[in-house]
Symmetry: C2
Subunit: 343 residues, 2 copies
DNA sequence: ACCGATTACGCAAACGATTGCATTTATTTA
DNA sequence: TAAATAAATGCAATCGTTTGCGTAATCGGT
């Protein structure tokens, strides 16, 4: 049995023969308590290492002050981009006096709902979330808003809700990357992306298409595939390279896919980047490990996380109006390495 | 201004003309309230989506029940191994009804102390921690123990404290890996490790040394270096390959270092694994990206995290005696890929 | 030495929920 | 029908802090 008994103000008051109110005031350095008493009480507290009970404090203030706990929902944790975002959220939050309650949805709608309930119970002051892949109903999010808990989305945005959000500039990121491929002499550029039902999928595709148009190239549907992981890439790429006129470049929606392409292309005997150029999207751990190193669009997860936390805290503290949904776009940066030619 | 006013039992009581006590009992389905009233109250609560205030609940029960928040301190977040561990902790904790408060120490002692204070204030029921690299005083940890908050270490263990811990089997992991190198014909095996002041550094070195001895090889000090990152590896490896009799294999303390070695060795024109074999430690994202893919010791971070959470929850719930420090060792697994020959 | 103004402190009611005990009301028994 | 028993509800204290308001103590001024 833990004798978990912590020292309380009541104990101090009893020991020193004063009232609890006096102790409270003395500890908060209120001038309405004489300097002598204040110091006496403060010293006693220090010596007996008194620790204020945050639970009680919070209860007392629940009407006015929100808690300083931010709920963060992540689809997965072992994931470069999500880790970076979490890192950014942590940095921003902790430097502004907030702490994080982190939960992983495992890409499951059920779990996401459950987490929202839990967090509501635990009185987070707001929630930062990237939806699970199989989330298609949004009542759990709406319930949060109804309960007055502000919501900020990142990466995977809820299209049906006009909530605050921060995303990466998928359109321009892709546009720049594809333009770079074209500038370095590529003419037939394949696009491996996600389904158009995901916003990021659509935006990246549009960037690809518009880059082609801008440079007077035409879009060849047979070069566009839904493929967002390495295994699929390794399955799909060989067929594509057997086309009568195979692509001379690939743009992939993430580094993992790009690396799948790279490994196949190398195995088939093509030289990278001279015969085939490849560009990814993320700039994670993998990008500098493959040979040659991957040219890729840096997704700047840390920035995304910081912006998300900044919005949420603004919402909580009232510096940002709760009515208007704040939408921020983090600029990407093209990192040119060995899988593309230099301009 | 948020009218953050949530519905309380008092509201329900007033609306329905009963006492708060009745509402409380009805909501907890106590048989001492008539079935009719119970249902009436429960329905009213549901319709007005009443939500119990956990803060108040906790305050009331603070004497008996610990909170269900587990504090997790991580040196960094954008890190494969730590992410995996966090993932394991999350899975175990959430499945047992606990949630996580996560903070990053950034490898700073100051910050670590600060986080401990914060977590103590926020009434976590226990803390799972891997020390910051520059932590050399342990009074903040001792203060936690004194406050009755159980502590579990993972990965970077505090040597001065006899606290519960879970680590990976560094000794056997390295021993097996080096044995594998020897079995596949390597005779001069270099060791790139961390300083011996870190426990994991020492254990891995011992595994290396004993594997050599067991197979009748002698330890050549000139093949042992302190090097635990890619940049250093790329600096150190060329010199080593210029020795009169250069190594025919490298064991590196992590994948990152191993990949640094690999890139240098390939650049110098050696074939891997035939002329030079390489083995890492982690089995993270990078391991399957390099060419050839990396043979490495799988560190099983998820397991480590699960075990850590299991210990902590045991300590909190009293299934594990608080007096005895529980020490668990997670077995590693050698993953043989392309940077070593097959047996 | 007395009065008004400070100064220093205590009382008690919150915050929202729980729970032992007392009390009311309904039901059974003699 | 009265008394005894059982069922249903209310009262009030409690968890640890905070804070408006009241009051006792101290002080300066005349």
């Amino acid at each position: 049995m833990n004798d978990n008994r912590q020292m309380t103000m009541k104990d101090i008051a009893r020991e020193l023969g004063v009232s609890v109110a006096t102790v409270s005031r003395a500890l908060s350095d209120s001038p309405s308590i004489s300097r002598k008493r204040r110091q006496e009480i403060q010293q006693f507290a220090r010596e007996h290492n008194y620790f204020p009970n945050v639970i009680a404090e919070q209860l007392r203030h629940s009407r006015r002050n929100p808690s300083r706990a931010i709920g963060v929902i992540v689809p997965e944790l072992v994931h470069y981009y999500f880790s970076s975002i979490l890192d950014g959220i942590e940095s921003e939050a902790s430097s502004r006096g907030y702490h994080l309650i982190v939960a992983k949805s495992n890409e499951s709608y059920e779990r996401e709902v459950q987490i929202c309930e839990e967090m509501l119970k635990n009185k987070v002051c707001g929630i930062i979330v990237s939806q699970a892949k199989d989330t298609e109903r949004y009542d759990h999010f709406e319930r949060l808003e109804a309960a007055g808990v502000p919501l900020v989305f990142y990466d995977r945005i809820c299209p049906a809700l006009n909530a605050s959000r921060v995303v990466v500039d998928d359109y321009m990121g892709t546009m720049n990357a594809v333009s770079h491929l074209i500038d370095t002499g590529c003419k037939r550029i394949a696009f491996f992306g996600t389904t158009m039902s995901m916003i990021i999928g659509k935006n990246r595709f549009n960037g690809y298409r518009d880059a082609l148009y801008k440079h007077g190239l035409t879009l060849d549907e047979s070069l566009v595939r839904i493929c967002d992981n390495r295994a699929d890439a390794e399955r799909i790429t060989p067929a594509m390279m057997r086309m009568e006129t195979p692509p001379d470049a690939f743009f992939a929606v993430n580094d993992d896919t790009a690396i799948g392409i790279l490994s196949v292309v190398k195995r088939l005997g093509y030289t990278v980047p001279d015969e085939v150029s490849i560009c990814g999207f993320t700039n994670g751990f993998r990008a500098t490990v493959c040979d040659p190193m991957l040219t890729t669009v840096e997704q700047r997860g840390t920035e995304v996380g910081k912006e998300a936390a900044d919005i949420l805290i603004g919402l909580v503290e009232g510096t940002l109006p709760a009515v208007h949904a704040e939408k921020r776009i983090v600029k990407t940066r093209l990192v040119i390495r060995g899988t593309t030619r230099h301009p």
